[in-house]
Assembly symmetry: C2
Homo-oligomer: 588 residues x 2
């Protein structure tokens, strides 16, 4: 049975001593959560994750969700009580707008807590996670009336939320959406159509569920320019917020899937359901995109979270499992065998995972802080710089952390040998659960295209130029002495990243396929440089602190073994598209 301990010490060190959290207390909401208060909040969250959510992870996988003949969905045993506790703790509206019932605390604390929740029980965490997505959409685009009606109930967790985008024929290509919205005289709409892959689409955790739905108003233009966003509550609330009539939306089926069994992945059928336009007509896609950063950051967190919990359980096993002897002779001659942790191959596996986890956590927190600054800073220039950073790093966080996070769950499972393949030990569930994060919220190939095709050229390359400058300045100022093992591979990585960027400029404008063929490798190259940069910053902040020595070893392992991959990624980028485009379609 897998266990979990939230890495509170790591989070707080990164926040306070690496990322400068204490210098941001002038931002709205930060003063209420200074370092001591932040520690107290996260400590409470850590215990909730460890003691309440983690014990339900395996039962959620085994039981899954069940759909009744009436379309109702029952979540696994224990989920409902845990949800009540989670909601009562105020976690859902932690960083929400205080005007509508939120606590207004820094978003970065929500992000940190999100890691713990997801490590403990990813399928569970998706219920409040989707609610937070709905909160973000309504906060940014809802009318004052909609905000008053829905946000307090969502922030408190009394009601839950969902996001309804995908249809059978419309996944990546949202422009193919067919769900229709027919106007009623009173300004509301009748929503009809079928959505698939709807996480948390129906369940028994809350008495009401607020669906945010992309649909096409009758007569709207084809493609992405004719899509609008609607709010469609399961029970239509009266204006005083009391639950009203059952709306014509129902779960038509539950998907049987590889993992996250504890989350209800629903086919949602809308049969003339009452819906209300959120934001501007035909601008629904833009509304979705503005909240996408936060959702994608959340998925990136899933990559880290599964990697972390898989590491912890692999390390425990490697300390306890005894097989064979150290290559240098028996380490525990009195016992029948040494712990497998004596083997360099096991240590290499564990330390490269751990080295990733710490830098990935720093990257998550750094990006979440950028979101806080972008939304809350009184300084327009600071807001813009943070927003640039957030936009640039979001596809990297989503794509790279979920790809490497999945690989790490596989590597951690391998440490368990045959026992890792057995369900009751929990390691194979981490692999199955982590897998979805590479796919949803825009498959990672789409993240790579977003980075290369949109984020790089945006505003004349302002965001990427600032990123290169920041990393370059750090290298110039910190390259010597004890920092060399960190800064040297970082410098090589930055050189490779800049070469790859220039290669795109020289070769992809005229031939866009060159960008498409190299996008995934470029994204991973970017991710390595971002993670390497954070390791260098962590190393700088760790100097002279013996309590950080163990993590620094993991950091060195990461710099030695992960960073050389930047050369491989550059080589692949500069290979171009000619070979892959040469194959006739019918020959595949």
């Amino acid at each position: 049975m897998a266990t979990y301990k939230a890495p509170l010490d790591s989070t707080l060190f990164l926040l306070n001593e690496v990322l400068g959290y204490p210098r941001l207390l002038n931002l709205p909401g930060f003063a209420e959560a200074g370092p001591d208060m932040a520690a107290a909040i996260l400590d409470e969250g850590a215990r909730l994750a460890e003691e309440v959510l983690a014990p339900l992870n395996r039962v959620g996988d085994i039981e899954g969700c069940t759909r009744g003949a009436d379309g109702s969905v029952t979540t696994p045993a224990g989920f409902r009580a845990a949800y009540d506790q989670f909601a009562a703790g105020g976690w859902i509206g932690l960083s929400g707008d205080p005007a509508y019932g939120g606590q207004g605390l820094p978003y970065v604390l929500s992000a940190a807590m999100n890691e713990y929740v997801t490590s403990a029980n990813m399928a569970f965490g998706m219920y409040p996670g989707l609610t937070q997505g709905a909160i973000a959409a309504l906060t940014l685009h809802g009318s004052e009336e909609q905000k008053r009606l829905y946000l307090p109930k969502l922030m408190s967790g009394e009601w839950a939320g969902t996001m309804n985008l995908t249809e059978p024929q419309a996944g990546t290509d949202v422009g193919l959406i067919r769900t229709r919205a027919t106007p009623h005289d009173d300004g509301s709409f009748a929503i009809s159509g079928s959505k698939i892959f709807i996480s948390s689409g129906e369940h028994d955790l809350t008495p009401n569920i607020v669906h945010l739905v992309l649909a096409r108003i009758d007569g709207a233009p084809e493609g992405t320019k004719g899509i609008s966003l609607f709010v469609v509550p399961k029970f239509v609330p009266a204006s005083d917020g009391s639950p009203g009539a059952r709306n014509a939306v129902a779960c038509g089926a539950l998907e049987t899937k590889m993992g996250i069994h504890g989350n209800a992945t629903c086919v949602m059928n809308y049969d003339g359901a009452m819906g209300w336009l959120v934001g501007e007509r035909d601008k629904g896609l833009r509304a979705m995109f503005t909240m996408m950063n936060e959702a994608r950051l959340g998925v990136g967190i899933q990559g880290l979270a599964l990697s972390e919990v898989a590491y912890q359980n692999a390390a425990i096993y490697a300390r306890e499992r005894r097989q064979g002897r150290a290559l240098t002779g028996a380490k525990d001659a009195a016992a029948a065998a040494d712990p497998i942790l004596v083997h360099p191959d096991i240590r290499r596996t564990l330390l490269t995972i751990r080295g990733f986890n710490i830098a990935a956590r720093a990257l998550i927190l750094d990006t979440a802080l950028a979101a806080d600054i972008a939304h809350r800073s009184p300084d327009a220039a600071a807001r813009q710089a943070a927003d640039d950073r957030l936009g640039l790093l979001t596809p990297v966080v989503k794509g790279v952390l979920t790809d490497r996070g999945f690989d790490n769950t596989v590597a951690a499972q391998q440490v368990w040998g045959g026992h890792g393949y057995i369900a009751e030990n929990g390691m194979e569930q981490f692999v199955r659960d982590a897998r979805i994060a590479q796919i949803y919220e825009g498959a990672n190939g789409i993240q790579a295209l977003d980075l290369v095709g949109r984020k790089l050229p945006k505003d004349g390359g302002r965001a990427v130029t600032a990123f290169f400058k920041e990393v370059g300045t750090f290298i110039a100022e910190n390259g010597s002495g004890d920092m060399a093992p960190f800064v040297k591979p970082l410098k090589t990585g930055l050189d490779h990243l800049q070469q790859a960027t220039m290669w795109f400029m020289a070769n992809a404008l005229a031939k866009p396929d060159n960008a498409g063929a190299g996008a995934t490798d470029y994204m991973h190259l970017f991710g390595l440089v971002a993670l390497g940069h954070l390791w260098a910053r962590i190393a700088l902040a760790s100097a002279g602190k013996p309590e950080r020595a163990a993590d620094l070893i993991a950091g060195r392992a990461f710099m030695e073994r992960a960073m050389p991959e930047t050369a491989l990624r550059l080589a692949r980028v500069t290979t171009g598209a000619d070979t892959v485009m040469a194959m006739p379609a019918e020959a595949f």
Copy 2:
């Protein structure tokens, strides 16, 4: 629903035009299976895999095996009828010794068929696969009486076989085995103990099951030097071969596991079961090892087989699924969207998988031919050279093909987007099934240690020296013209491999941990060179053959995108063990 088409054309081209099969017809058994006959045999096998086994793959995953209260095990619906057909086709004893009922045909044909069977239905294929393992053990080490008693029934498939090694405390470290063998006066033994993870341990496919069991004779030395191999039939046959009394061996439980649900993975309890020594007393481990090459080659085939079937289904989906438009403008303007195959990122994914598959198939067939030559050649020098090659390549085939094969199933699943995560589409089953091949028959970290610690230094490095010479000679003779895109990256790869080998010689003798920390990367570096070498040989044989043009594009994609990884692997090898060994055990 996934489909499968056996790559018969690829197999025959590789055999006949790349690997020189027609020049080996002087070997015993080969004359009976010249190119035309080999094609006819494999064509029949292909149809069996496609039409009988593939349709049962998903039902096997859903139903799994069930254990009755009496310890009996029922296989999924349809498995028994398929097994009867498979056995009746003579596939199990295809390359077995004709003196005991085998057909004596080349082992390479069994290996080729094994790929098809495994692509179609890996869990099913493990039933006859384990029988073939038992056949190999008895053929090599059984007494004349044991061979007469068991081999004909096993070759015909009338009875099935298993291999019983692992115990809860003894996985990689076979020396920790506790199962006891107490001598009876008549020369038989009473076997008592419990084995776990026993594939095909109990089932309803055959009326008898012949277990090969590692156990320790009372009073035998501790560790690996006191282990003996026994044959323990479920029903003890009379000397005329008729089934006799039920033996005291039973399936105590079925494991619930990540994949290969259609195969019964059993806890096997021996309670004073009648067993007979196979081979010499206390030399059981040696007996196991001599048959390990074949078993590990079989697991390597699983890596290729799952990669191949996953590729096929990803390619079909990419041709049919329409989302978005080509980066260079609509390719099918009349339709609402282009097939996703227009996207370079999808093509890159598919072609690197396909490029791997073809070279991996060549490597499997090449290694299987080495086994044939090692066992059948009248020329002692040829036998030795082939045996060297077989021993050297076996850990590479097992470790590299299963690691990359698994990664390829994940990449192929990614092509399907969200639909790849849904069970009914079959892509996620390939991932779950492929995962075990990295673990069993010696986890891949063990393969890497076998390569670095045993196979490299063996006989003064004779095998690896011959391999380097063979590849170097090929490069020297074929480096120019159209061959340059293949030979240039191969030359770089060989340079890196030789540098890594020299680094071990200089740094690992005094500090064995340096070998341990670099072993996995070295194995993958070796694998890339072996695969790159085969691609160069394939390219040479493909010159002037338009029907091979499509595969050659996949080959170029492999050379461009996979081979640059050799530099990364070398960089990691030369990093050494200092960092990973610096971490105190309690700090993990």
